[in-house]
Assembly symmetry: C2
Homo-oligomer: 444 residues x 2
């Protein structure tokens, strides 16, 4: 899946650009992306999607065909469209590393560019950062709930379209999932691939046993068998019967998958059947409408489940399928700007987030301030693009995932639980409050 | 945005195909897509996404690069991968027309193809049909609530990725929206484009008045002005002041947009200011966290709002962001099949849905039966692909939209309301019940 056409944007970006062009509003603008408020059932968010934003910014161009189509619409003048032919993103970007926990009001990405550039890229930047940050923030809850058990993304089919499927595989892996069923995510980023079989596979055969044996012989390195098509325990018993025949040919049985009914109950019965049949090494994998709450309950109940396939509810962040996020103008031509609309007012200027850690190494509080204002703690936004070009090379996703795990270990314990935690302390610096007064007085 | 790689599928599709290949399971299979149950807050669903499914089926191929990558993974044998090089979809498809209201348990699409073909396409077919059917079923609620007022899709930025943004523009237009802000949907399907300006546009200017005038002069055919950046009523007054200067140059003011605060209240005040200033023709457009419930309330309150921009909640179907849908094996090698897993049992065979209409022309009830069983009423599934090729040509989206409006007019009145209606009668025929007994007896 390649980056879509630059026309995947809001029409108003183009009508605004026409006006900027006509009236010479092309000085430096500063935009920041942030989330306004924490969704219900989240203790923190997880920054994700930066690499896709940088890919987009590096590649964004208008093709001749796109420009002719715009011209045919009659809404733009010729000089402006000619100028669009040379449109490139030449700005700077600073951002939090992917996998950094963040909180409402904290910028996770800043764009500094001539106004028409910073403006045009708004729609796609929001589109990319919201999706992955939202999915990562949802997926990490399953990671925390599973307490080390295997987690695999099964959600492509019910993700919202192709890109949501692909990028939610990426975001969940970043957040700590062990792999995905989405083949393209394996090819694209080396995400480990997992897969078993569908009910239709079993049903196409004359018997379940024949289906199992055929599959095993086609995958002699070992496979995981779906056992709930007809009768879960009978299928487990059939595998016990099949196992010696396969073992004689050196073919192991890696695992079984439960996909319906009371998963904890079936897991216990199946575990007994497998253990009694000499298949103590065979792992039990569960799937079917799982989310972090169900995983936590199964884990708390001591269900003998070794891994979970988590799909729809994670990929769509079903309990909160969007973030109240925005990409706002902070400064134009050197003057701080802020929006004062009712209920949607914003902070002006170029901002930095400083994170302090306690003596136990855990996060102790964040301060949002203006850049240049010295504050204790780790500065979370760092340069990632200069003059339209990436600073350094894209880090491998597996490295981002390890760094994310280290960051998650530093979350206050209360934030690592599924229950709502007390608000993590995020304060606004004196310097930022002073800048807001200046912006208000200057009418910005 | 082109169709993504064929590797955008579940890994198990490929492991199953390896087993089908090795063991010669290549006879004709019948799969059907349906929704298991109606989500909360929906009285009906709306079939959508068929054209994208047919595009996908016509174009699906494995490239040499994809096959080398699969080979390098070491999970598949050479003969199988060589066979994949010639993989084509050569099957038949029958489906409900896009924009047809449908109900749980009713197939909206059937694939009849050699088993490995029907199997591999499962993931992407579900991915495409769920997204658009879900969004269309959500969007149509705004259409019913708006009672003829203008409706524009504003949701690209918070849709789940690129394809969700693009296809939700398509699905909402199909359902009766008047247009979208998503430029690519205009280019792709001729969906009418709407756009105003962002707060950042206003903020970049020294004054709101200058921002308005610049925009107006760049769009002399007329524009819609965003008036809530600082003080909504003051901005409306500024437009009244500006209007004669623009009129002198033949530039009209088409409308204003409200995006925050109490939309009904602001609309009333702004309407008064505009009317008193001789701008009675200027339309008021509202946006900001809208959904069908808020639209219905504004309409019921008599708010003087001429149109609505609806985004996030519609595009993500926020109150129910997925459908309990499935693509199931119904028949293999001439024998009916069905799944009997707990809570997930399905009906076997090739099915047809017959829809009866009452003397008032409204829908009166559906019967799901096996094909060939004569039943009264309109048969809803019709051939759309034969031997891997489309039957006829893709209808223009505007035609599908008109046909959808005609179908929506035939819904029972209770189903056209936002409140939950009594269940629409969908019955299962004697012939289908008999087939289920046969499938059970034969162990299918």
């Amino acid at each position: 899946m390649n980056e879509p056409s630059i026309l995947l944007t809001d029409f108003y970006q183009l009508t605004m650009l026409q006006a900027y062009f006509d009236h010479g509003l092309e000085e430096t603008a500063v935009f920041e992306f942030f989330v306004r408020k924490l969704p219900a059932k989240r203790n923190f968010l997880l920054a994700a999607g930066l690499e896709q934003v940088l890919d987009y910014l590096e590649g964004a161009r208008f093709s001749a065909e796109e420009l002719s189509w715009l011209a045919a619409g009659g809404r733009f003048n010729r000089r402006f469209l000619d100028a669009l032919a040379n449109w490139r993103f030449t700005g700077d970007v600073e951002a939090m590393a992917e996998g950094t926990p963040f909180f409402p009001g904290e910028p996770i990405l800043r764009v500094v560019a001539p106004l028409p550039q910073g403006q045009l890229v708004e729609t796609r930047i929001i589109n990319l950062l919201q999706l992955q940050s939202m999915v990562a923030a949802k997926a990490v809850r399953s990671v925390l709930a599973a307490r080390g058990r295997l987690l695999v993304d099964f959600g492509l089919r019910r993700a919202h379209g192709a890109e949501a499927g692909l990028l939610s595989a990426r975001a969940s892996y970043l957040a700590g999932f062990d792999g995905t069923a989405t083949v393209l995510a394996g090819q694209r980023w080396g995400v480990p691939l997992y897969g078993t079989m569908a009910h239709s596979y079993i049903q196409a055969h004359a018997s379940e046993l024949e289906a199992f044996e055929n599959f095993a012989r086609s995958h002699p390195a070992g496979a995981t068998f779906l056992i709930d098509t007809y009768d879960t325990e009978a299928a487990a018993a059939a595998l016990v019967e099949l196992a010696p025949r396969l073992a004689a040919d050196g073919i192991p049985i890696n695992g079984v998958r439960l996909d319906s009914g009371d998963l904890g109950d079936h897991a216990r019965q199946v575990r007994r059947i497998l253990d009694a049949g000499g298949l103590a090494e065979v792992q039990i994998f569960a799937s079917g409408n799982l989310d972090e709450a169900r995983i936590a309950r199964l884990v708390a109940d001591g269900a003998p489940i070794d891994g979970f396939g988590v799909g729809t509810r994670m990929n769509t962040s079903a309990d909160t399928p969007y973030l109240e996020c925005a990409y706002k103008l902070q400064e134009y031509a050197g003057r701080p700007r802020r929006k004062r609309s009712e209920g949607k007012a914003t902070w002006p200027g170029r901002r930095q987030v400083h994170r302090r850690y306690g003596p136990d190494g855990r996060m102790a509080g964040d301060t949002v301030t203006v850049i240049g204002d010295e504050q204790p703690g780790e500065a979370l936004l760092a340069p990632v693009m200069r003059g339209g070009e990436r600073v350094g090379t894209a880090p491998p996703l597996a490295d981002l995932r390890s760094a994310t795990a280290r960051r998650l270990a530093r979350l206050p314990e209360a934030l690592r639980r599924l229950e709502l935690a007390p608000l993590y302390p995020v304060t606004t610096s004196k310097a930022l409050r002073a800048l807001r007064r200046i912006a208000d007085e200057s009418g910005g």
